[in-house]
């Protein structure tokens, strides 16, 4: 699957309190969470009219802090098609894999600028900066995680393996 979208750039150590502040955690409704996506990193981002289908690009340690799955849920529900970062914090990484939010670890993430058009091929790991005519290779997922991603998420994988057992 190929994803193409406009890039929004964020910095290093974007934490889950910035992605979805705790004051909005009195609900687990994805639509409601989406409205406040990235609120304390960029106020109003989740209510922007131009974010559907776009790509978040960030630096090191994206999604550090709490384990709240509300963070990737908010990003996904806001219509963000993919998050690319130089690295991800561990719990955010597993949450994204588990819920089927496309994420890409890319060493060259910092070469992207706000408004660039990026194209990500999730199968091959090829990442292109259409605006700058550059191309990179993302870090591939380990084989085990690829199975979860291919199933569509961890619970899809669980349900399938439960069915194959019975």
């Amino acid at each position: 699957m190929k994803i193409r979208g406009k890039v929004f750039v964020f910095g290093n150590n974007v934490n889950t309190d910035e992605i979805i502040p705790a004051r909005y955690l009195n609900t687990a409704d994805p639509t409601e969470l989406a409205r406040y996506c990235m609120e304390d990193a960029r106020p109003g981002f989740g209510r922007g009219t131009d974010i559907k289908g776009s790509i978040i690009v960030a630096g090191e340690n994206f999604g550090c802090g709490s384990s709240r799955e509300h963070a990737p849920v908010a990003i996904k529900a806001a219509g963000i098609s993919c998050v690319m970062a130089r690295s991800f914090a561990r719990i955010f990484f597993r949450n994204a894999i588990n819920i089927g939010l496309p994420i890409v670890e890319l060493t060259e993430a910092d070469t992207f600028e706000e408004g660039d058009i990026a194209e990500v091929d999730l199968e091959t790991g090829k990442v292109r900066n259409i605006t700058k005519s550059t191309e990179y290779n993302a870090k591939p997922y380990p084989a085990f995680l690829r199975k979860i991603v291919e199933a569509g998420g961890w619970l899809e994988y669980c349900v399938k393996s439960l069915q194959s057992l019975s």
Partner: protein, 418 residues
């Protein structure tokens, strides 16, 4: 093998597991709270769940926004309560019997050495202090445990932290972990387990170990593990839990090693907006940082020893007129002990407020949310932008001793110079 490898190999029924290996493992305890359980329950039902795999392995602790702060929070807790009832989950802790999850679970003997614990809360790594492999995961992982009893895990590489020397007065376990986070950086242990060794372990009580393991995640750590020694065994014995010792082989190779001499350590203060941003309190004191609020409590520092230390500093003194000092015991049991030991009197005489157990202000939930421009000194674990309230407020992290001294002075203060 490292402590992480040893516990995970035992869980996997293998003689050896290697870092980087992916495992599907049976979980001993699956924990969730009033924020993360609703999402897990919703997913469990969405994926066809009717009866949970094993109700006795599930723990539900409403602690973040309780006593319920608003109607939405009340609805979330109601969902947990009804799910517990419907599924026959006996480890559901209601207000009046609850505690902050990571204070409560060890106290109740619900987690023990050698266990595999997953929790939809990043500070689940706290139980590494007992020699349990405990790690924070997401709500979907918890829903997966409800459905199948299992979780996927990658065996982490480990960082060895060698602790030597003796604490100076008013230097605590909190200062050890803050210093370590500043050395490693907030992602220095990302995907790795921290493992603590060395002669100084003898000096670090269980309460102190919980504080250290609790903040492993602030360096990105997947777990913060202590070997099982006499200190652990004594703690477990009080709960009628028999455990085996857990240690590593002499020739174990670590991904990285860090050496920390406690006798050289000063009380630490972590400046906004990262826990790694630390300075010695002597330096922080010189900067004359005015404080509006002090919070003493949380899953990091809400245990009885923390309250004793705060009371020791506050005794016979008053909180500065412009400061609100909020003391939050970590559990109902801590409340009882604090009352019995006369600590509550000391807090009230000092003009602190003494609350019911809750995560409350730590994550800007309730019971002490900061206004624009306000400054807090807090014994909690995170000082990110907006963590305790307004995005333009600031949180400085410190030990109960530094927090209490700062409450008295009204400025960030060294407890040794009050």
């Amino acid at each position: 093998m490292t402590l992480a490898q040893k516990i995970l190999a035992r869980k996997a029924g293998k003689s050896r597991v290697e870092p980087g290996e992916f495992l599907l493992l049976d979980v001993d305890v699956a924990l969730a709270n009033d924020i993360t359980a609703p999402l897990a329950i919703q997913k469990f039902k969405e994926y066809g769940g009717e009866k949970v795999h094993d109700p006795d392995r599930i723990v539900l602790v409403p602690d973040h926004f309780v006593p319920n702060k608003d109607i939405e929070s009340a609805m979330q807790v109601k969902l947990l309560r009804e799910f517990a009832e419907e599924q026959g989950i006996k480890h559901f802790y209601e207000v009046g019997r609850m505690g902050i999850e990571h204070v409560l679970l060890p106290e109740e003997g619900l987690v023990k050495s050698g266990d595999l614990v997953v929790g939809a809360d990043s500070h689940t790594c706290t139980y590494g202090a007992l020699g349990a492999f405990a790690t924070g995961v997401g709500s979907t992982d918890i829903a997966g445990v409800y459905l199948t009893g299992r979780v996927w895990l990658r065996v982490p590489e480990s960082i060895k932290v060698q602790l030597v020397g003796s604490f100076k007065d008013f230097v605590t376990a909190k200062d050890v972990i803050l210093k370590l986070i500043s050395i490693l950086g907030v992602d220095g242990a990302n995907y790795r387990a921290l493992e603590f060794f060395g002669p100084a372990l003898r000096e670090i009580s269980m309460d102190g170990r919980f504080t250290i393991s609790n903040m492993a995640i602030e360096a990105g750590g997947k777990a913060g593990l202590f070997p099982v020694d006499e200190v652990t065994m004594a703690y477990e014995k009080e709960r009628n839990i028999e455990v085996e010792t857990l240690s590593v082989d002499e020739d174990t190779v670590y991904w990285k090693e860090v050496h920390l001499d406690l006798s050289q350590l000063e009380p630490q203060v972590a400046y906004p907006f990262l826990p790694s941003n630390t300075k010695d309190v002597t330096e922080a004191e010189r900067e004359g940082i005015k404080v509006d609020q002090v919070v003493i409590g949380s899953c990091t520092n809400g245990r009885i020893e923390d309250l004793r230390l705060a009371a020791q500093v506050l005794k016979g003194r008053k909180v500065a007129p412009h400061v609100r000092c909020i003391v939050i015991p970590g559990s109902q049991n801590v409340v009882k002990r604090a009352l019995k030991e006369g600590l509550v009197d000391i807090f009230l005489e000092s003009e602190c407020v003494f609350s019911t157990p809750t995560c409350g202000p730590c994550l800007g939930g309730h019971m002490g949310v900061l206004a624009e421009g306000e400054v807090a000194v807090s014994t909690t674990n995170r000082n990110f932008v907006g963590r305790m309230g307004h995005p333009k407020s600031k949180v400085f992290l410190a030990s109960p001793a530094v927090a209490a001294a700062s409450a008295v002075r009204g400025y960030i203060a060294d407890p040794r110079r009050l």
